[in-house]
Amino acid sequence: MEALGLLLHGFAVLLTWKTLVLMMVGLVLGIFVGVLPGLGGPNGVAILLPLTFTMDPTSAIVMLSCIYWGALFGGAITSILFNIPGEAWSVATTFDGYPMAQQGRAAEALTAAFTSSFVGSLVAVLLITFLAPMISSFALKFGPPEFFAVYLLTFCSFVGLGREAKHKTVISMSLGLLLAGIGMDTVSGNLRMTFGSPELLRGINFLVAVIGLFGISEILLTMEERLALRGHAAGISLRVVLGVWKDLPKYWVTLLRSSFIGCWLGITPGGAIAASFMGYNLAKRFAKESESFGKGRIEGVFAPETAAHASGTSALLPMLALGIPGSGTAAILLGGLMVWGLNPGPLLFVEHKDFVWGLIASMYLGNVVGLVLVLTTVPIFASILRVPFAAVAPMIVVSCAIGAYAIQNAMFDIWLMLGFGVVGYVFKKIGIPLAPFTLALVLGNRAEDAFRLSMIGSGGTLKVFWSNGLVGSITTLAILLLFWPVIDNLLGRVGLTHGTRATSP
C-alpha cells in the first residue's frame, strides 16, 4: 500500500527530538489560546505564525498545526466549565456540556469532549491518508481554467449557503475582493487603486487584516460584555476516563455520523462551525428521547465535538491539495505555506513529500499527544481564567501588533490592523459576515489571475470553462450552488424537504 509506506516515511521525518518538542510547545500554546477569551484557533495561529518564519517548513507546519489541535481541545474546556465557548464551533458543546458540569459531571463531560475530538480527527486523518495520493495523481490536470472553476465553487458556496442576509454577504465578499486587488496586478504589470501611495503598493496583506478583524475586534467585543465567570474546575481521575471509554461503543452511530458530517463540511468550505451544529442537531433528531438533550446528555457532547474536529482536520486536505482552504485557520496556514516558499496545490504532494507526509503523520501524533496532555492538564488551564482580563487584554493587543508588524516589517501594517479591528467590530455588530470577506481577501487575486490567464490562453472565450469534463463539472456545480436557495425553494414547494438544515435548539 503506497499510502502506508509514505506515512511511515512521514513518521520517520517527524520522530526527532526537535519536532517532538515543537509539537508539545505548539499544543500547549494552542490550548492556551483556545481557552483565552478573545483569542482562538485562527487568531492564535495568525499571531504565532511569524514565530515560525525562520524555521524549516516541516517544523513550522508541525508546530502550527499543533497550535490548531490545541486550540480545538482548549475551546471545549471553557465551554464545559464556564459556558463560554472559546471558539464559535464550541457553542454546540455548551448545550449539554455545561449542564453536565453543573450536575457535578464536569470530568465526565470533558473526557467525552476530548475523546470524541480525538475520534473525529482520527477519522478525518484516515481519510486524508488514503485520499491524498489519489489527489496528487489528479494533480497535473489543473491549469488556469480548472483553478478558476474551483475558486468560483468556493465563492458560490458562500453566497448560496450562508445564513446571513444575502446583501450583507455580497457586501462582505465584494469588499474583500476589491481590497485584494490593491497593488500590482500580476497579469498586466500595472498598479491599481494605489493612489500613488508607496504603502499601498504592496497591497493589503491578508494576515494583517485577519489579525485586526478577529484579534482586535474580539477584544473590543469581549470588553463590551460582562466578564464575570462562575464555573467548575475539575480534576480528571483515571476511573472517570475509563468509565466514559467503556460506554463509547454504545454511541458508535453518533460518532460515525458526526465524523462523516465533519469530513464532508471540512472538504467543502462549510467549516467547523456548521459541522458542530449539524452534528448536534442530527444526533438530537435521531435520538429516542430527544427532549433530554440540553439537560446534560453525554451524546450532546460527543456529537458536536466529533463533527467539529473531523471538519477542522479534513479542511486541511483541500488546502494542501488544491490551495483552497476549508476553514479560517486553514486559510492562515495556507498563507504560511507561501511564506515558507511552498506552493500549495496538487504538485505539493509530488515535490514536497517530506513536508506533506510529515504533516499528516503529525496529525496522528499530535492528536494522541494532545489527548494525553489535555486530560492531565485541565485544572491548570481552567485557572488561566482567573487571570484578570485587564492583564490579558493588553497582552493580546501587543501580540497582535507584533504579529501584524512581523509579516512585512511595516509600521503601516500596525495601523492597518487597528483599522481592520474597528471594521471587524462594527461588521460583527451589524451582522455583516466576516468569513466571506476573509476568503475573498485570500483568494481574490488568485481567482482573478486564473480567470485572466484562462482568457489569454483561450483567446478570450468563456467556453474554456466547459472545455473538458473536469472543469465543466466544477463550473456547473458552482453555478448550481450559487442558485441553491432558489432550487431548494422549488424543491420545497414540490414537497421534497431536506433534513440537514441546522435549526437552533
Binding site: 462562575r230 497582552m395 509600521m411 480567470f451 485572466r452
Partner: protein
Amino acid sequence: MSQTDIEIVVEDPTAPEDDSPSVVSSGTIEIVVCLLLLALAVTLGFDNWRTGASWDATGPEPGYFPFYLSVILAGGSFYGLVATLLARRASSGTFVTRAQGRRVLAVFVPTLLFCLTTQFLGLYVASFLLIAGFMRLVGRIALWKSLLTAFAFTAIMFVTFDVAFDVIMPKGPLEAALGR
C-alpha cells in the same frame, strides 16, 4: 466521580450596567456604514475606470474586475441603505449602550495610543506602557503587580522575537541607547 470539584468564581467589578441608555441604534450605524461603503465604492470605481475597465482582445483589462466589483459593492450598500431606512420604524436594536461604549473606548483609546507610541518610541516601550497602564488604570490592579507583569511580558517578547528568532521589531531611542 471526580473528588476535586472546585468552584471557580471570577467577579467583574466594572461590568456594564444592564439598564444603561442606548447611545446609538444599530440602524443608524448600518446607515453610516452603508454610506461609507458607497463612498469607497465610488472612489475605487472611478480609479479603476480610469485604469481601463473594458474587455479587450485578450480578456479583461486590469480595471475590469475591480470596476464591476465596485459597482456590486455600491449596489449592495445601496440595497442595505434602503432596507434599513424602510425597516427603521419597525424595529431598531441598540448598537451600543452608554456603559458599553465607555468600556469599548477604554480598550480602544489605549490601543490607539499604543500604536502611536510604537511609531515614535518603538514597540517594546509601547508594550510596557500599555500593559502597565491598562492594568493599573482600567483594571485597578496594584501598581507593583502591573509594572512587574508588564516588564516580564515585554522582556519575554523581546527575547523571543529579537534575540531568538531574529524577527526585528520597530525600535526607538531607548533601544538605541542600549545598543540594539
